[in-house]
Symmetry: C2
Subunit: 143 residues, 2 copies
């Protein structure tokens, strides 16, 4: 988990995430973001969530992975980088709705000993969450 | 299934597909494309495939759905629109690699009486397929 050093949602917690670059697969982008934001090398296992966020014209692809080493470090984008057990997740201080929704599904799958691909649409998410704080997309859709 | 009236791959067969518009969820985009290309109204059930096509900087989201009516008709984009049984699929005349890969998984799931979400990366697809014929993406990646 990373504490964001940058806007939006500076100071709040997230797992590594970002925009896909041209020529990347989703898994390659996920691996690159982990490296950029935590210095860690990961092996990407597969999709955990496909999350529609139409209010900001985004689709979030969230992946499961395993760390290849424990060499984590703060970066330009992350003021703190740390491993957390489920009980340590700062649920009230997560940066974006999709982070919490993904973590909940990850832990629930682990309890059920399954690896499902979950789909959800954040426009229908319960109100009162952080979804209005998400970064505006390249489409320029209004918040 | 639709016979393409437009480039690329004019004259070849596809199911309805296209680019997501701003403000749409993936399922809403799928429903819109079916309407635009076949005049049919569908209910979207859920994801069938998430297909990385990094060589053209695309990710294809493919959905299962059920027709709300049989009112199909040719359109500006489709010179023929028709329902096909599995045995009628023109496997050698499909427009794009991801169409055949998705249809194969759909029919296999139906035989297995399951509804899985499949992931694949077309960069690692077997050679000799139609992948070089895919439309260039908005990133301007070369073919």
């Amino acid at each position: 988990m990373c504490r964001r050093r940058i806007s939006p949602r500076r100071g709040f917690w997230t797992f590594p995430s970002g925009f896909l670059e041209c020529g990347e697969s989703g898994g390659e982008g996920a691996r690159r973001e982990v490296l950029e934001e935590t210095r860690a090398e990961v092996h990407i296992e597969g999709l955990l969530c496909v999350i529609d966020v139409p209010q900001i014209s985004e689709v979030h692809l969230v992946y499961r992975g395993t760390l290849r080493s424990l060499a984590l470090a703060p970066t330009e984008e992350s003021s703190e980088v740390t491993l957390m057990a489920e009980a340590e997740i700062p649920w009230d201080d997560l940066a974006f709705t999709s982070i919490g929704e993904s973590l909940r599904r990850y832990f629930e799958d682990r309890r059920q000993k399954q690896k499902a691909v979950h789909t959800l649409d954040l426009r229908t998410a319960p109100p009162g969450e952080n979804r209005d704080e998400l970064a505006p997309s390249v489409c320029g859709a209004s918040r």
